[in-house]
């Protein structure tokens, strides 16, 4: 394992991560024992908190609110500097003045999902009953649980109906869950690079990641906080495997090919001879600095359990029957994690439900992660869809 030691020297201490989990830099909505979060597993989670960021101004008739749902390993820091990494927000390219999610027009909300580790209650948070981190005592959560928590946050913010719910990957699953669970609260929905159910192959990749975390001797059955350590090697491996699924062969080849890293000839060792190896190790190491290993277990599990049709006797169209929400479904040609065929199945179900749905497949070789990258076609579609939704909702041009 010597070659993985190189990825295992986090510059962000676990205390910083632990502090961020309980006392985030974001705004926090706290819910006491009177307002429990009713989880699918049957447990009432209380008290709990949701950390969130907002951008732009809510207009007078509260009609310009857009909820961004974040993907698996992202968080609420959409368009501001990340408090742990110091890097720019993960969707600054999409969110800001004049951007597709125009903060001069719209009021943008993004919350850290329940089960996350950036300030919403999750396995890294302190369990009030023990005064220690929840760890594996934290109940299993689902995508519907995340959405239920977001709905409670919106109630708190006084927002009845969202102009749009938008998100990619796990965020896209939340978008679909929003429309299935609260159709009357979602005027329009933009699910990107996602599916109504997690496929067997995707579950398999997640299991690989979870097993890597659990195999790390520093994991201590999830009680690593008490030993002041973190299973960063296992988590880094999980991230590496995940990261490969987010890209495409063509993108990896274009970016790295078989080029060597700082050398001409192979070292005949297990060092990172190839550039693609260094890249993956870097991705792994930077990830463990900001993310909690147990959160990774819980959130991947939530995605695995996701299956909208299962809640409607296996008939997907039933989930959307009579829905008034306007949909724009977007997929990417080189996404093999959530291939276009899955988006197409969703669109067929929506059509069968007589929903107002648009669907565009965007040609790119950048894989699943394309929704986070500079893909002008995707920006144009998002902008146009939001503008037409705003027009249909009678949003005035100034945004109030």
């Amino acid at each position: 394992m010597t070659n993985l030691q190189s990825v295992s020297s986090p510059s962000i201490h676990s205390e910083d991560r632990a502090h961020e989990a309980d006392h985030p830099t974001s705004t926090v909505a706290k819910f006491d024992v009177e307002q429990p979060l009713k989880l699918d597993c049957g447990i009432d989670l209380a008290p709990f908190q949701i950390a969130y960021q907002t951008y732009g101004e809510l207009n007078a008739d509260r009609s310009n609110a857009i909820l961004i749902c974040h993907a698996l390993t992202l968080d609420q820091h959409v368009a501001n500097v990340h408090p742990l990494t110091g890097k720019a927000g993960w969707w600054e390219i999409m969110v800001g003045p004049g951007r597709p999610l125009d903060t001069d027009k719209y009021f943008i909300i993004c919350s850290n999902v329940i089960g996350g580790c950036m300030g919403s209650t999750g396995p890294a948070s302190t369990n009030p009953a023990t005064g220690k981190a929840w760890g594996l005592d934290f109940p299993i959560i689902t995508i519907p649980d995340m959405v239920r928590a977001q709905a409670m946050l919106l109630d708190r913010l006084g927002i009845e109906t969202l102009l749009c719910v938008i998100g990619g990957s796990m965020g896209g699953m939340q978008v679909l869950q929003w429309t299935a669970a609260y159709p009357e609260r979602v005027f329009s929905a933009l699910p990107v690079a996602c599916s109504t159910r997690h496929s067997a192959q995707n579950i398999a990749f997640h299991e690989l990641g979870r097993q890597a975390v659990m195999a790390d001797p520093d994991w201590h059955h999830g009680r690593y906080f008490e030993r002041n350590t973190h299973p960063h090697r296992g988590l880094a491996v999980a991230r590496m495997a995940g990261h490969i699924t987010y890209l495409s062969d063509a993108a990896l080849h274009r970016k790295f090919g078989r080029r060597m890293q700082d050398r001409e000839l192979p070292t005949f060792s297990f060092d990172a001879d190839f550039q693609v190896e260094s890249y993956l190790r870097y991705q792994g190491s930077s990830f463990v600095e900001r993310f909690d290993a147990n959160s990774y277990l819980y959130l991947t599990r939530a995605m695995d359990y996701f299956d909208i049709a299962a809640d409607h006797n296996g008939v997907l169209a039933q989930a959307f029957r009579g829905i008034k929400t306007r949909f724009c479904v977007v997929s990417f040609t080189s996404d093999w994690l959530f291939p276009t065929s899955e988006s197409r199945a969703l669109v067929h179900a929506l059509n069968a439900s007589s929903a107002r749905v648009s669907f565009a497949e965007i040609e790119t070789d950048r894989g699943h992660d394309a929704f986070l990258l500079d893909v002008p076609e995707f920006f144009d579609i998002s902008r146009a869809f939001l503008e037409s939704a705003g027009k249909a909702r009678g949003l005035d041009g100034t945004g109030g």
């Binding site: 306007r326 197409r344 069968a352 749905v357 648009s358 565009a360 497949e361 040609e363 579609i381 027009k391």
Partner: protein, 221 residues
Amino acid sequence: MALQEQSLPLGGVAPDRTGKYRTDHLLVAEMIAAGSKVLDVGCGDGELLQLLESRGIDGRGIELSREGVNRCVARGLAVVQGDADTDLVNYPDDAFDYVILSQTLQATRQPKVVLENLLRIGRRAIVSFPNFGFWKMRLQLLVGGHMPRTEHLPATWYDTPNIHFCTIKDFVQLCDEINVKMERAVALDLYGRPVPLNLPWWVWNMFGEQGVFLLSRGTGK
């Protein structure tokens, strides 16, 4: 949009003086009542759908080309990427008031099956297509000895998406065969003007560059 108010021979097909919309699109739009729910199969870049929406018609579209879909979504239209030949089966019966197949019939693999699907999904169908019996077409093949090319069918024989050409006469025969009722039929001449209704079919077949048909389910079905 300044529409000429004069009554034309074929039930108020008014030419668009602004040139903003194609005559055949205006003709289709005239056939549909406001408030109807419409599916445009092979909607291209959404020009017709946009015209329909501007007239209070609830429009949806299917388009095969990715570029077309993206342009439609960018116009704020509800358009899905799909193939008329394979995707129509997924639509439930009576889902729409009208289903439009505008200049697309000749590009489908199974025109007959597509036509049957149109009238299953929609209570009515509007079909327009380039007439291969048009005199210029006949002339190009007869005199020029090569496959005809026109303004509406500019592709050369080897790179055309159009695989099933028909004449107005052929189409009328097909409608008979699958028991489809023809409620209205309009042939447009070279200049996009309607060919007068009182002329016999062979004139339409000869002088109509394209045909536009309003269809409904036949009674004996």
